[in-house]
Amino acid sequence: MSESRTDVVIVGGGLVGCAAALHLRSRGASVAVVEKNQLGAAASGVNFGGVRRNGRKLAELPIAARALAIWKRLPELVGSDCEYEITGNIKVARTDEHMDQIAAHAEAQAEYGVEVEMLGRNTLRDRYPWLGESALGAAYCATDGQANPRLVGPAFARAARAAGAMMVEHDGAQRVERDGSGFVVETESGRTLRGDTLINSSGAWGGRLAAQFGEPVEIWPMEPQMIVTEPAPYFMVPVLAVVGGDVYARQIPRGNVIFGGRSGTADLDVGFGKVHAEESLTTLARTIEIIPRIADLAVIRFWSGVEGCTEDHLPVLCPSRTTPGLVHAFGFSGHGFCLGPASGAVAAELALDGRSETPIEGFDIGRFDSP
């Protein structure tokens, strides 16, 4: 069977892996990506599509800022804007306590350059007359936006291939080992890929690969349940999120409202997210309290996807502690679509330089070690 040797081998062709490949090519490194299914079609291809900094954990704000800069350059980098639009994001509070929470977070995130406008009940009602009674106030962030997840990962994959990356689809990595000269990856079809360094960007499956190198991380599969309606006249420009996370929604100019809020369970061995319609009925009930007018619409599809979640809901993005040349970039815990383009770039830098300018404290794999 075929054998290859590249500077870097990437296991997992989601948005993170594909963005890393493109970044590596721009640095002149040779790279091969192995993806067990289709490139950019797992969590990266089925997610909600929110691209936001508002309400994000502070540790993620520096990398999110870098991501934002890349999102704006998509046409130049991957030949398409992937329907990325800066539409703003409103984080809505339904109780005074939640209002205090977002106000406090607004101050904290301002130190990282994320500006939000606090909206009281009346302003909120004036600007977004479609909001329901339960919305007390909100933090509005004008620089946030949304994109079409179905296009982004594949666009990075295509650009990486065009730039000379070897992109292997439908061929999972079965055995990954380190020998004297670097890493050896054997795939399901019997292919052998050798590389000096290895990036583990295998998403929800990243914990398994890390465990093989003696640094197990507990990863919980999470499975957000998504809902899409038939098209309706365009009324909702910003992405909407609610404190507590039980409702988030956006509308695309085509008219469909995409929303979600509940999660089920997933089986990593099966791979695909399985829909639990009962969970989504709960989301319907919660969502019509916030956006009453969608009660008159019909759902045309439920879907789901599998994402890997860590204990503290922050990713693992760091050099391995046990294995020189191994880089981890997985476990984005439900909010790594926005970060994806920058996470790939950081992983690429860690693979080539052993370090990155972008602050990634807080993402180290060692943080889970029991004291």
Binding site: E230, G261, S263, A295
Partner: protein, 467 residues
């Protein structure tokens, strides 16, 4: 009924579902029978809304007796079964069917399921098919049977399959003006399979009878044609087609019924966990089952056209067979001899069906060469060219094509456009249709009211996911 009697849910009250219910009741099992329609009968024996008075002979022609028998059977069972009309099963998940009925959403728990969901029109798009005035063959028939009106004046019927002549006949019989019947198949294609067709006996004779009757009534009947376009400013004004020798013709009409036989309604079977396999004759992915309709032993059984199109007579037989298989799997004694007779009858019908499908082949190839600008997915206005190019990202299979172009992403979720889109994608990639896969099925199988869904929500089931 004692406690260990299985709770059986039958989806569909057409000929298959009706006969399945009858057989279960005869063995002491009272099923729940759910149908989206207001009245039982299914597609072929669709009943007009209550209060309509057209006689059965006018509505069902040759099939009047069978239609009345199927209707009478379900009506007669109503005291003994839990019959729920106007109720859509929109999801099946873990032994529960989620239904939307007149009183909102209900959850129907079952031990075993008989899916008798029937078929829907198969559409092969062509330029202009989205103009007002163009209907499917089934839609044309529903207009006549359920509303007592014609789709235009005059009307042209175009496509192939037994329904083509039947519906044209029904229209003329009801007094509508039919300008022509245009068949993409040609009688010469029937000759090699003639022996098989003879198995159909009466059915085949009926088909020829309709055709002869139409000719005698002075209706132009053309075989071996190729559709070119439906034309009109804001609504249909004419249809253009090419004859066998390649000459183009134009017929003025305000109604055009198109149809290429029917395709199975398989979404619920997929959600219920049935294995799906590609059927080369139907060019469709079908849920797999044994001859009796046993798909998942002890839990899921398939009957009627939903498990591969075989027609109404077969649907009655398959309904009974599925019920007998279910009963046997639940250790309820059944009559082996009658099962054997039913199987033999089904074999005879299937021999005819296979010959018929060869005699009146569905011209799937027409989709493969449609002009780039032809709309394929009418919900999302996606053209053949969009699918071929994947809007710049070459898709390898159907779910990818959907992700890149939005084909099949609208209200019908690809039930209408999926087959043609698969042909186009396969042709563009130079591969077989089965190699481009199929659109993954997902609930709800038809659009679901958010208000109804919200009212049925059960709180505090599990954690919220913050993303």
């Amino acid at each position: 009924m004692n406690d260990d009697t299985p709770r059986v849910l039958i989806v569909g009250a057409g000929p298959a579902g009706t006969r399945a219910a009858e057989a279960l009741v005869a063995h002491g099992v009272a099923p729940i029978v759910v149908d989206e329609g207001a009245r039982s009968g299914g597609q072929i024996y669709r009943r007009p809304p209550a209060g309509f008075t057209r006689p059965a002979a006018a509505l069902y022609g040759f099939e009047a007796r069978k239609a009345q028998a199927v209707h009478a059977t379900l009506d007669g069972l109503r005291e003994r079964i839990d019959y729920r009309p106007n109720t859509l099963i929109w999801n099946i998940e873990g032994g529960v069917a989620q239904a939307l009925g007149p009183d909102g959403i209900e959850r129907i728990r079952f031990d075993a399921l008989i899916l008798a969901t029937g078929a829907m029109d198969r559409v092969i798009p062509f330029p202009g098919w989205t103009l007002p005035g163009v209907f499917t063959m089934g839609g044309s028939q529903v207009a006549l049977k359920a509303q007592g009106c014609a789709i235009g004046d005059p009307v042209v019927f175009m496509g192939t399959g037994p329904l083509l002549y039947l519906v044209a006949y029904q229209y003329v019989h009801a007094g509508a003006r039919v300008a022509a019947v245009l068949d993409t198949s040609h009688l010469s294609q029937a000759i090699p399979v003639f022996p098989g067709l003879l198995w159909g006996g009466r059915t085949f004779a009926k088909g020829l009878w309709y055709m002869t009757w139409l000719r005698a009534a002075g209706i132009p009947v053309r075989g071996g044609i190729t559709p070119v376009a439906a034309e009109g400013q804001s609504a249909l004004e004419a249809v253009r087609y090419r004859d066998r020798r390649g000459r183009e013709h134009r017929i003025a009409c305000t109604g055009l019924g198109i149809g290429y036989s029917v395709k199975s309604e398989v979404q619920l079977a997929e959600l219920a966990g049935c294995e799906m396999a590609f059927d080369p004759l139907a060019q469709q992915w079908l849920p797999q089952a044994d001859v009796d309709g046993r798909a998942i032993e002890g839990s899921v059984y398939l009957a009627g056209d939903g498990a591969g199109v075989a027609g109404a007579d077969a649907a009655e037989v398959r309904g009974r067979l599925a019920a007998l298989a279910l009963l046997a799997d639940k250790d309820i004694a059944t009559d082996r001899a009658s099962q054997a007779r039913l199987r033999a009858k089904l074999r005879r019908i299937m021999r005819f069906r296979n010959a018929l499908e060869r005699a009146l082949p569905v011209p799937f190839h027409l989709a493969r060469t449609l002009p780039d600008e032809t709309v394929i997915c009418r919900c999302e206005a996606i053209t053949a060219g969009d699918i071929r190019e994947g809007r710049a990202l070459a898709p390898a299979e159907m779910n990818r094509a959907k992700a890149f172009t939005r084909v099949g992403m609208g209200r019908c979720q690809g039930r209408v456009c999926g087959p043609a889109a698969a042909q186009i994608l396969a042709a563009a990639r130079g591969c077989a249709v089965e190699d481009v896969g199929r659109l993954r099925g997902q609930a709800p199988v038809k659009p679901l009211s958010i208000r109804a869904g919200a009212e049925a929500a059960v709180e505090d089931r599990s954690r919220a996911a913050s993303i």
